[in-house]
């Protein structure tokens, strides 16, 4: 029952979920950076995610790379369809990446403000676009029988996808604020707690609205999936983690709250993937023209070779990720070598 195509659907899913959970919080911190009160808060923000953000972004690269190798038709279709959006995303990620390095190179307030804005906007844009992209894929793209995209850039900015984009942004802000509660103290932590709680209630409400909107925008997703135990398991995990999250924050168990928000985000994406399966990109013109894990995949030989590579690479990536978080665990310490 589990064939190579299914395994690769799972692996690409794990990579993209890993990206959302890991880069999600540092994008959230970047958005919160726009609201930081003083220089000390801003430097704390940068140094809290400084050691880990680039490692987190690698998950997006590997997700894209795995998609290219395992499901080249999906890669070609989606990356062509989202061309301008992806260019915008790249621009944002470039500005965000250089602001880490450039900001501390001068004491001038104007210089620092410039890079604070580049960092904030460079985080805000990806945080929204991630959800917009996911919303468009889940809802289905206008694909003809050859899998060619017939839509336009502005067509990608439909109300449903924007709703998912805002949901993603709010969840990332919540995720980032919770991460910062582990990294700060005093006034800064209090303001992060306020952000986390505010984003939590907004996020929960938006998730309910988004679920209802999905019924109308992409009802086909619910056909059949409601009978699957996995769907209900993931849904139960989403509810349990989101309900326990504010309690954990109140009890000052910040790590537990962070685990809750990680599980919540991961399971929400898992739900979307379960509903899509075995489709990857539904066609909004005719469901029969959808790209699936079978009609869009590489040859079994390629999939098998890549699986061997993935089995060697994955433990290394997980190993260094754990190591870097271990090295930089605890609160932020600002010294002469900090950003």
């Amino acid at each position: 029952m589990i064939d190579l195509n299914t395994i690769w659907f799972l692996l690409v899913g794990v990579l993209l979920i890993g990206y959302a959970v890991l880069d999600g919080f540092d994008l959230g911190v970047g958005v919160l950076h726009l609201f930081a009160k003083d220089e000390r808060e801003r430097r704390t923000n940068l140094n809290a995610i400084g050691p880990v953000w680039d490692g987190n972004e690698v998950w997006l690269l590997t997700g894209g790379g795995a998609l290219f190798a395992a499901f080249p038709v999906v890669y070609a279709t989606v990356f062509s369809a989202f061309y301008l959006a992806l260019m915008l995303l790249l621009l944002a990620l470039i500005l965000r990446a250089v602001s880490f390095e450039f900001r501390s190179k001068s004491d001038s307030p104007a210089w620092r403000r410039l890079w604070d804005w580049a960092f904030g906007i460079g985080s805000l844009l990806p945080a929204i676009l991630f959800g917009v992209a996911l919303g468009n894929v889940v809802r289905g793209l206008p694909l003809d029988a050859n899998g060619t995209f017939l839509g336009s850039f502005l067509g990608l900015l439909n109300p449903y996808s924007i709703l998912i984009g805002v949901l993603g942004l709010v969840l990332f802000v919540m995720h980032g604020a919770i991460y910062m509660t582990m990294k700060t103290d005093g006034e800064h932590r209090r303001s992060m707690l306020a952000w986390a709680n505010g984003a939590w209630i907004t996020g929960v409400l938006l998730y309910v609205v988004a679920t209802i909107a999905t019924f109308f925008a992409a009802g086909f997703l619910f056909e059949g999936v409601l009978r699957q135990p996995l769907f209900w398991l993931l849904l139960g995990l989403v509810f349990a983690s989101l309900l326990y999250l504010p309690l954990a924050l109140r009890k000052a168990k910040y790590l537990v709250a962070f685990v809750c928000s990680s599980i919540g985000i991961a399971c929400m994406m898992g739900l979307a993937a379960t509903s899509l399966f075995p489709r990857i990109v539904p066609s909004s013109i005719d469901l029969a023209s959808s790209l699936t894990i079978y009609n869009a995949s590489s040859t079994p030989r390629t999939l098998f070779t890549m699986l061997v590579i993935a089995l060697i690479g994955m433990p290394i990536v997980i190993g260094y990720t754990v190591a870097i978080y271990w090295v930089f665990k605890g609160k932020v310490v600002l010294d002469s070598n900090s950003y």
Binding site: A76, Y83, M87, L90, T148, K331, L334, D335, S336, N337
Partner: protein, 129 residues
């Protein structure tokens, strides 16, 4: 690219020999060559890239697929032009900033290890606990 690569190996070898003879810091001629060689790796990368791209034409995958058959049906020429201009501008800006900061660092000269934190307002580590 290959020629430049050989050149790098050669000057590194000369540098190594001079260092072993304790003469590296006094051989000004060699040090000047080192400074002038700094932009060359970037040029070598670009040359290598250009020769791979141009030398392969008209194939995009050698003897398998023509470049003209590989053009996207979805992405228009205007979109490509837009992204090309966008990234040219961004890289020009970032490149100029890089040269500006680089020149400033060089003009600043080397500093003693103790004064390393010159840009940082607080010299003492600050723990938020």
């Amino acid at each position: 690219m290959v020629l430049l690569g050989m050149f790098f190996i050669f000057i590194m070898l000369v540098g190594f020999i001079q260092a072993r003879r304790q003469k590296l810091w006094t051989s000004t001629g060699l040090l000047k060559v080192f400074v002038c060689a700094m932009p060359l790796p970037v040029i070598a990368c670009q040359f290598g890239w250009v020769s791979a791209e141009v030398g392969r034409q008209p194939w995009i995958v050698y003897h398998v697929m023509k470049t003209s058959d590989a053009i996207s049906q979805t992405v228009s020429a205007g979109e490509i032009l837009f992204s090309l201009i966008l990234f040219s501008v961004i890289y020009l800006l970032l490149g100029s900033l890089y040269i500006f900061l680089f020149a400033r660092e060089v003009n600043h000269g080397p500093e003693p290890a103790a004064a390393k934190g010159a840009f940082v307002p607080q010299p003492q580590p600050e723990v938020f606990a």
